[in-house]
Amino acid sequence: MSEMADITVAKRVAAELLRLGFLKPDRAERFAQDLSAGKVKSEEWKLLADPPHAAGAGNVK
């Protein structure tokens, strides 16, 4: 049940970050999966916050 809650919240977060422009559309689903599994580490958050022109921007693994 807790897993379901994580997935629900992860999907909402991914949708919001997509809306705010931090995520590219083709990365959103994978990001939600990683987030719901607790796999998004600080370095990946930093990549997400890179400026839009930066190489790593939105490219969370």
Binding site: A5, A10, V13, S42, W45, P51
Partner: protein, 759 residues
Amino acid sequence: MSNRLEKVTICKFRGGTCPVDIEFDPGKPVAVIFGENGTGKSTIVDAIAFGLTGDLGSLRFISVPGPRKQKYLHSIGTKPSDMQVSVTVGNATWKARLGKKDPEVEGPDDPPQVHVLRRVELLKLITSEPKKRYEAIQSLINVQRIEAAELELRLAVNDAKKALEFASERKVQAQKILEDHWSQSGAPRAASALEWARAEATGDLQTLKANIAAGRELLNASTVATEAWRELQVRAAEASDAVGMLRPLQERLETLRAEEDVQLLDVLECAQQILDPSSETCPLCEQPISAEDVRRRVANRLGALKEVRKLKGEIERAAKTAETTTSMLGQQRTSFELRRSLLVQQANALRGRFELLPVNTASHTDGEITAYLARIESVRPQLQNAIDADQKKANQQDLLTTNISAVDVATTNLIEFQAKAKRLEQISQAVESIRKHYVSEVLTDISDTAARMYTRLHPEEEIGGVSLYLKDAASGSLELIGSFAGNTEIPPQAYYSESHLDTLGLCVFLAMVERDPEAIVILDDVFTSVDDAHLGRILELLHDEAKNVGHLVVMTHYRAWRDRYKYARGPASHSQLIELLPWTASRGIRHTRTAPSVDELRENLFKEPLDRIGVAGRAGILLEALLDDLTLRYRCRLPRATDINYTLGELFGGIDSKLAKAMRVMKPAGDIALEPLLQKLLSMAFLRNQVGCHFNLAGSNISDRDVRAFGEATLAYAEAVICENCGELPRREKTGEYWQCACGSTKLVPLVKPGDKAA
């Protein structure tokens, strides 16, 4: 269906002193286990939790001697290794036993969740402090993985802030250094220290550094050449000394050799004569020759020759020393010439900047060389001052360049880091807001569900309005408010009665666990006593909510609960009723399936020979229960009495003819008028007392056929009014038109007795 219990096997666990299997009916969403106190209800609950998860169950709530509560899991007088519990859910079985330290559970991963509500926990949900209440609900609202990722996000935010702070500090430091130097330089006119520094740092630092290096190399070459010149002087003196020592030795040797040659001839001639046996006198002086004298002279000559040998050795050594020192002198000269050449080259190269440096002349006498070296050394202080001045200038330029660069880099970084920190903050706020919103949604959902359930249990009471929420300022603090007598947002624990708090605890618990639709939910004897009206509503609520969980197991010592199912006042077909028999240490937990009274009567009717008392007695009790419900439903008039247990005659008397004629049961197979069935039963009701209850001779005259007919008529009436699908009487009023059973497929009209008004 998949997460319903099928079998629990208990061996040497708690009160289960003897192996016992408890089989569940996975086709029924509710299992009711009835047992008087001390029959093993809590053992069964603990076994289910232990078997699936290794949980210590009720032991967690009690204090026992020693730190290891698990040592009290096995039955008293047995070995821990003998203890085992297995639980089958769906097609999977989990087995738990005591390991060396902790319980060990074998079975597939992800066993079903078990949520147990015990009496001891019931009030805690409501009356505990908010933090404890939060702990109770925590597992249901936790988004642990999201929170773990959020923690990483906060680390990223902190890193970005630190980077920002560092860049800011670095800029301030670099600016301060530039300002200090600007001030030390007398604060020359410039827009700022930075602009001044930029102008100052434009010089050719590379050339400056090359000049410094060349100057230092010249000074070093001078030192080295001067030292080499001194060394050469020493070597020359050494070589001269060595040659000077060799010459007298050689002259002495020549002198010695000349003397020795003359004397040696003389001695040898004497020796020849001595060796001639015919001669006894010297042929020259005709003096007699003394052999003794000849020996003495030979000895003297040999001594003189030894001195020559010694002298030769000394000459050899002196010659070697002379050769060595001469060789070293040559090497030193070569070395010096190299150094001098380098010095001259460097001095010539620097003469353009330092005119004091001497010009090297073509002659190379010792005096000229010494003078040249001395001239170079004489300008050393001026040269050193010039180098120091250049070094200071270079240092300043270096420092200015470094700090200008630091200011520039920090300025760029500040812009980038500020933007990044802002974006990370924005992400962090978005994640936190979504998580909190989700938790709030869950709590609202739980609150709404609990409030809905509570209103069902207490439909006409001025209580309810239950709401759970997280306190903003406090971490992990779950607040609970409700309404009471027109007052809203009050703490229920301060105003509600204990029984109202009990039912509130039940509703909150059910609302929470329903969020886990696959879970096995166990109510472990949570109510001490409930009045009839509330018990009926609780039963209805539990059966309705059982659809929202995997399996609902109700443990109760409350006989009225059991009888509700037995006499069709609850959805018996949707429930499995297990009755626990008295417990003894030697026999452990024992149980039996409790059939509804209709099934018992039906079974008795088929027995041969006919159990007359059994049939008449069971039929009579069942008929009383059915008519009791019917007269209650229609508010029939019955004789007022202190004892509310009415006889069959009184119950029949309460049903007037208008009502009897009007009553009709509507089923999918067709409508059934109740009057004929009741009329038939009325004519036979006396059989109940005469055969089923009392000793009397008249009873003996009644035939088996009549007894069987009474039983069959009772069964026919029961089957007419009880729903085949859910096993419940039509006793719920939902539409305002008729009474209906739990599943709604059996209906009873009219809703009220003819002549009465609807409530």
